[in-house]
Each structure stands twice: as C-alpha cells, then as structure tokens.
C-alpha cells in the first residue's frame, strides 16, 4: 500500500507511518510502524487491536496532534501538518471544558470559528435537541452523567462541522444500555451527515456492528494486520436482527480470532 494514490473518493491516506514516543530518560517506545491504509469519503472505519498497540497514537497522527517520524497522513489529498477544524476528535478522556456549560462546550468550535452569536445559538440548540439534553443547557460537565458527557463531546465535535471525525473509544466509559443507544445515534448521524469516521474501539462487537470495514492492528509496535469488510448497509444495523445473522456472526468470530491472536 506504500505510496498509495488517492482518488477523489479517498478521504484519508496513511502512508508508511512510523511513530515512536521519545523521551530523554527512557528508550523510545515505538507505537506504530509501517502503517498504511486508506479511508473512503463517508466511510466508517473501525480500528481494533490489543491495548497499547497504538490506536490512540494513530488518532493523534491523523488529527495532527503528533507528527510521524516516517511517512505521512493525507486528508483530502493534502499532507497533515498540524491540527485543524476539518478533523474533529472525540477524545477517550472527552476533554470537555469544566468551566463551560453544555451550551458553551457545544458552541466552542463555532466560537473559535467566529460564527456570529445568533447563528451559533441556533446551531447549538439544534445539537442539544439532537443529543436529547434539553433542560441541561446551563449545566456544567461535572453535573452530568457519563453518558450525557459523552453526548456533549460528540455534539461539540459535530457542531464544529469537520469533514473527518476521529473517535477514540468514545463509548468505553458508559454503561451497556447507554452504549447501545449512543451507537445507534452514531449510525443515524453518520447517515445524515455523510461524515468520514475513524472509530477506535477495544470491542470487537462494537467494531463489527458499526464499521463499514474493521481494521485489525497487531500488538505493539502496531501495524495493520488486516482490514475486514462488513458488507451490511448501515440502515440494516440492528443488534436484535444481527444476533441471528449467520454471515455477520461469522465475521464477528473472524475479527475476534484475529484480535485474540495478538494478545500475549
């Protein structure tokens, strides 16, 4: 895949990425090596792999929060050189501003983009309604449940209207019930907005349920082990229906075995 040529349909190209954490005190930790793959426009790519294999690092590289020592990331055909509002991130730790209310957090990207007040309020209100947080507009993050915070983080990223959404284990910290709801929300939103999404998860279940494709990574230093197609239209994704879907279950087992082989 090295030297992959992007076509009009290609949104993200990772081209021969090598990335290590360096520090003065310790040996460099190689998080990723020789990582190449492509994501099509409007695609939802799920990334799975053992803990510590470099999934969060990969998100950082695409977001431009870290630079690879070798290789490059292209988004829309242009090399990523730093963070930008075209690539929104939903962080594993969320990163909501404790000093901003729900409204303030959701509107932060619009504020940074200098969107006029009236228009901003309009957009924020729309997203508050979408995530079902009406009545909580003036609450601070510490007054919200884990699932609510998760929704606010999602809405904040969506409101900034990036073309690419990078999500790092976005549903790991919520209870099972909420997780299913949020996953359905994400499927619906992805269909409505057509955004290109890279979603990191440690749950094979989640990856198979959400992803158009599932990328399995090797243990550290992370490489792309394989990329598995999940040929089920998004509108047909439903846990109850898929529970008895033979091809889907076969895929799930395939992915599970692939990840399991990477565990020590």
């Amino acid at each position: 895949m090295r030297g992959a040529v992007s076509t009009a349909d290609t949104k993200i190209v990772a081209d021969g990425l090598h990335f290590a954490y360096r520090s003065q005190e310790r040996e460099p930790v190689v998080a990723l090596t020789d990582v190449s793959f492509e994501v099509r426009a409007g695609e939802l790519l799920c990334v799975v792999g053992p803990s510590g294999c470099g999934k969060s690092s990969l998100i950082s590289l695409i977001a431009g929060l870290a630079r690879p020592q070798q290789g490059r990331v292209l988004v829309n055909g242009r090399t990523v050189r730093g963070p930008g509002a075209d690539r929104g991130v939903v962080f594993q730790e969320l990163g909501l501003m404790p000093w901003r209310t729900v409204n303030g957090n959701i509107g932060q990207g619009l504020e940074i983009a200098r969107v006029p007040r009236a228009r901003r309020d309009e957009v924020v209100a729309r997203f508050v309604a979408m995530i079902g947080l009406g009545g909580f507009e003036e609450r601070y993050p510490h007054e919200l449940s884990g699932g609510m915070k998760q929704r606010v983080a999602l809405a904040r990223t969506l409101a900034a209207d990036p073309t690419v959404m990078l999500m790092d284990e976005p549903f790991a910290a919520v209870d099972a019930q909420t997780r299913v709801t949020l996953q359905k929300d994400l499927l619906r939103i992805s269909m409505q907005t057509g955004k290109t999404i890279v979603l990191v998860t440690h749950s094979v279940e989640e990856a198979a349920f959400l992803g158009d494709r599932v990328m399995v990574m090797t243990r550290r230093p992370g490489r792309v082990k394989e990329i598995i197609d999940v040929p089920i239209p998004r509108e047909e994704r439903d846990y109850d229906a898929l529970a008895h879907d033979e091809p889907f279950n076969a895929l799930r087992v395939e992915i599970t075995n692939s990840v399991r082989a990477e565990l020590w």
Partner: protein, 258 residues
Amino acid sequence: MRSLRNPEKLLGVLPFAVLGLVWWLVTATGVVHRNVLAGPPEVWRATTDLASRGLLQDDIVTSLLRLVLAMAVSLVLGVGLGLLAGLNRPVSDFLLPLVSFFNSISGIAWIPLAIVWFGLGTVTVTFVLVNSIFFLIFFNTVLGVRSVPAVLENAVKTLGGGRRELVLQVYLPGALPFIMSGIRGGFGFGWRALIAAELTAATSGLGYLIYNASNYARGDQILAGIIVIGALWIVIDMAVLAPIERRTVQRWGTVRQV
C-alpha cells in the same frame, strides 16, 4: 441580620465573644492595669471618636486602596509572567531561579531601600506590597497552567483554536483555581505587609494610625486600629474572596485542595 439566624455562622462568632469577655474581665477587674491594656469601653470610645472625626474612614480607604492597587499590579505581573513561564520551558528556566531568590526576601525587607527610592507614601507601600503578593500569584499561576490536562489543549486545537484561544479558553480558566488561591493568600500576605509598611513608610493609613497613636501613648487607639484591621480582613475574605470562588471554581467543580 439574616446571618445571625444561621447557627453555623453564629458558631463562628462564639470564639470572639469569649475573647471579648476575657478581655473585658481582666481589664474591668483591674487584673491588668488600664495603662497596660485598655478595656473594651475605652477602645469603643476611641473607635467612635476616631470615626466621628472621619479619621478612621480616611485611613481605612487609604489602606484598602493601597492593597487593591498592589493586588492589581501583582495580578497583571504574576499572571502574565506565570503564564509565560508555565507555557514556555526556556522562560521558566530563566525566571524561576530569579523569582525564588527574591521570593526568599520578605517583602518588608525592602522598606528601607524603597524609602530611599520613593520616599514615604503610597509608592513605597505599594512596592513593598507587590514584593509580598507577586510571588504567590506567580508560582500559583505556573503551577495552575502546568496542571491543565493535555486533552483540553488538544480539544481546543482540534476545534481550530490557536494560541489566543488556548490561553483564554484553556490555560487561564484551567489555572484559575490556583490563581484564586494565590489571590486569597496574596491578600493575606499583603494585608499584613501593608500594616507593617504603613507603620514606617507612610503618613496615612491604618498602620500609620497605630504608629501615630503610639507616639501619644494612646493604647486605646492602637487597639482600635488593630481590631479594625482584623475585622476588615474577615469582611474582605467573606464578602469578596469567598463569593468569587463560589461563582467560578466551585461552580465548575474544578476547585482543589492546594
């Protein structure tokens, strides 16, 4: 008056009532002679006398203005340099040794030199005060900036924010709990340094009131001044500092024990 119905607040008054009672007993019974320690009635008379002539009010206003001025200067310098040092390794490597050195020198140690430079009065007093307050604000700001979780910076960067947004939307509010505790401590340090400075380096203010009273051996006025100083501090703390904290860091849930 409403606060008196609050039993917790009433509990805070109790120690002062006991102290006052003891004071009154030892002076009224003659255990301690009036010339050594004036009793509550004399001090009350001295207070109302000073107040009726407007002297007490003038000195209070003078002292408070000096404190506010010094706090404003210290805040601008302390938060400004603290942000720079907190965000920039070379700057902090350069500034921290200097700041540590000067921090070890008590603010009031500068009084003699400040008098030579600026004479008696507000400039000297402010200079001494800034020397007492600045360091606390500076160190707290550095600490506060460094305590801001990296994910908040990254969040703002990926929302398209630059340097300006990082400072205004992440570092400053993130450091605010620390800055607030610096302000609170700074007012405490500053208030004490203020009285000390006014005892020797000014011709007005509450410290000068005490100094002047001692020239005339007016123990009642000295005690009046001291009580006003202590009472004013409690008012500043309760009426100014606590509400600011309630409205910001406590509401955000970011307040920490420092």
